[in-house]
């Protein structure tokens, strides 16, 4: 069973590494977008599925990472330093914000994170050092040592590498002792605290880790796009990350990646459909919003554990092995949203 999983991971890795070689420029843009968003969504999946906390402001940490990378590299430091600083600064912001905010839970936390998002946008738009509402222009290309990453293919591989690191870190957290403690506190904080789990510290740590993931993704995004403005990070962006996490299956690392890929690809190709001749000019945005809404409603009502865990569950039930069934039950408990 375990070796089958390893083979599956290797197959996915090989396939995704080969993809940028065959994709056209439109396909590459979607590929980078999937890899970048998936890094954020894995963090949200950890936060919601394991720590039981909702964040509707994750794009703030994404943007923080982006602005950090941009400012560091515009200050004349190596761009790689900017990329490395992005997750660190995002995580520090999350620690500072999380101390007061994580006293809240459930819908209070959800609205508090939206409020933080709105405050962030207002502050960035008023701060000249961050380019104000017009934004930061002329972010240099990313250089890895002597090699300058200038092609979309290059950024596809950079985004892939960041996502790989995120997935490995997330898997290790989930399988560790703190990971089990997190699952316990998502079910009942009181019970977890009374069995000796430092609830507050663990929640804060996961919040910071998820912010670091988002920050790293934001760093890649900044170098890839080349400019940043507060208008690029609307509240709905944070919400779409939650949509992807829920669709993929909360608390499932691979589910987060699959959910992101599914939603992003659907939205992109329906958007392309919307720009075909004979369609009204508002069709792309209508189709985009409709996809987010429909996919989310259908998933929550009919596949409450998410697409990937439900598929895995169905596959194991079909194969019917006793061992498989035990594992499916385990997966299911893992994936159950708090």
């Amino acid at each position: 069973m375990r070796s089958a999983g390893v083979w599956a991971v290797l197959a996915v890795a090989a396939a995704t590494l080969a993809l940028p070689l065959v994709l056209d420029s439109g396909g590459l843009a979607v590929y980078v977008q999937v890899a970048v968003s998936a890094s954020v969504v894995v963090g949200i999946s950890l936060l919601m599925g394991y720590a039981g906390q909702v964040s509707l402001g994750q794009a703030v940490f994404f943007a923080t990472g982006g602005y950090t990378a941009a400012l560091v590299s515009q200050a004349g430091l190596p761009t790689l330093a900017g990329l490395l600083a992005a997750p660190v600064v995002a995580a520090l912001c999350a620690l500072v914000l999380g101390l007061p905010l994580l006293r809240l839970r459930g819908h209070h936390l959800a609205f508090a994170t939206i409020a933080v998002h709105l405050i962030f946008l207002a502050v960035v738009a008023q701060t000249d050092a961050l380019g104000g509402s017009t934004g930061l222009q002329g972010i240099p290309l990313l250089s890895l040592g002597p090699v300058e990453v200038s092609t979309n293919q290059g950024y596809a591989y950079v985004a892939w590498a960041v996502l790989a690191v995120v997935v490995v870190v997330a898997r290790n957290i989930v399988r560790s002792r703190p990971g089990r403690a997190l699952r316990a506190l998502a079910t009942s904080e009181t019970a977890a605290a009374s069995s000796g789990i430092p609830v507050g510290r663990y929640k804060l740590t996961v919040f910071a880790v998820s912010a670091a993931f988002a920050g790293a993704a934001g760093g890649v995004f900044a170098f890839y796009i080349g400019f940043l403005s507060p208008g690029m990070f609307p509240v709905s962006m944070s919400i779409t990350y939650v949509v992807m996490a829920v669709v993929g299956g909360l608390g499932s690392v691979w589910g987060a990646v699959a959910g992101t890929a599914l939603v992003t690809v659907l939205v992109h190709y329906l958007g392309v459909l919307g720009t075909l001749g004979g369609m009204p000019d508002y069709a792309p945005s209508v189709l985009t919003y409709a996809v987010y809404g429909l996919v989310l409603v259908l998933t929550v009502l009919f596949l409450p554990h998410g697409v990937l865990p439900s598929l895995a569950d169905w596959w194991r039930r079909r194969s019917g092995a006793r061992e498989g069934r035990d594992r499916a039950g385990e997966e299911e408990r893992e994936a159950a949203p708090a």
Binding site: V286, G293, V297
Partner: protein
């Protein structure tokens, strides 16, 4: 002094809008335990429909009432989706209402386009104790006062309202006494649609509205309602008015860019203060 009073009146007016959105949240939350993220969207539906009906040549008054009716229907549909499957957990229902918000974006952009719209409110200025105020501001304040009075009478003096309150305080006991709790929850969504629609119709002449105005409306409504723990409509009224006045004063005497920020910081401070006072033991949901 005159300027101060003028700021306060305009703050009261916009605050009444927040209060109406907040009371819609309260109406749903106290009965179902669901925080209805689509509440701001009800207001947007109300505002945009009013502008469309007025544009189609329907009289003032009738157009606004029709718009509120549409918002109520949207509320009913949202309720069906959020609660249609028995046993939907409140957090899941919150996510469903997020999804409804996205679906509504799609419909609103398709029907109304993505440019902000405004409606002509009550035109002209009048003088109140020597302070020049827009007549529409007074209309908003007056209508809100009437709506909240009606809401209060409804909740305390009618059978239906008392049944709603019963469901809010103890759903099990309410069911035992023969109150159809599920139908009451549906009704709460319709009520939320009406309150949101009224808010939208009243606010549209004050602030141009586009399909994505719902985020600021819902956050302000939540801020207003959270002061009363999301269960007391009258506290939501006080909270909304307070937020509106604070924002108007910040915009009038400080930097207009930070008016929302100040209100949001106040909301965060209140929520964190509340959470710090209550130990987590009491907040946990027992199923």
């Amino acid at each position: 002094m005159i300027a101060l009073l003028a700021h306060i009146v305009s703050g009261l007016a916009i605050g009444c809008g927040f209060a109406l959105v907040g009371s819609g949240l309260v109406a749903v939350y106290r009965v179902t335990g669901v925080v209805n993220f689509a509440q701001g969207m009800f207001a947007v539906v109300g505002g945009l429909c009013a502008s469309a009906f007025l544009g189609a040549g329907i009289w003032h008054g009738a157009a606004e009432l029709l718009a509120v009716a549409v918002a109520a229907a949207v509320g009913a549909v949202t309720g069906l989706l959020a609660l249609g499957r028995p046993g939907t957990a409140p957090m899941t229902a919150l996510i469903v209402t997020l999804a409804v918000g996205f679906l509504a974006y799609a419909v609103l952009v398709a029907v109304f386009g993505d440019t902000p719209r405004s409606t002509p409110g009550l035109p002209g200025m009048t003088s109140l104790l020597g302070v020049p105020v827009r007549r529409h501001h007074l209309l908003v304040i007056g209508v809100t006062a009437v709506v909240f009075l009606a809401l209060w009478l409804f909740l305390t003096r009618t059978y239906l309202g008392k049944a709603l309150t019963a469901c809010a305080s103890n759903p099990y006991a309410a069911r035992v006494t023969g109150i159809p709790v599920a139908r009451m929850a549906q009704f709460a969504f319709v009520l939320a649609g009406v309150l949101g629609g009224v808010a939208g119709v009243l606010v549209a002449p004050l602030r141009p509205m586009s399909f994505d105005s719902d985020v600021t409306l819902i956050v302000h409504g939540f801020a207003a309602a959270v002061l009363g723990g999301l269960t007391r409509p009258m506290v939501a009224l006080a909270g909304g008015v307070l937020l509106g006045v604070v924002e108007a004063l910040v915009a009038g005497y400080g930097n207009a860019a930070y008016q929302t920020t100040v209100a949001l910081v106040v909301m965060l401070a209140v929520m964190i203060w509340h959470a710090a006072r209550r130990p987590s033991l009491h907040q946990e949901v027992t199923v």
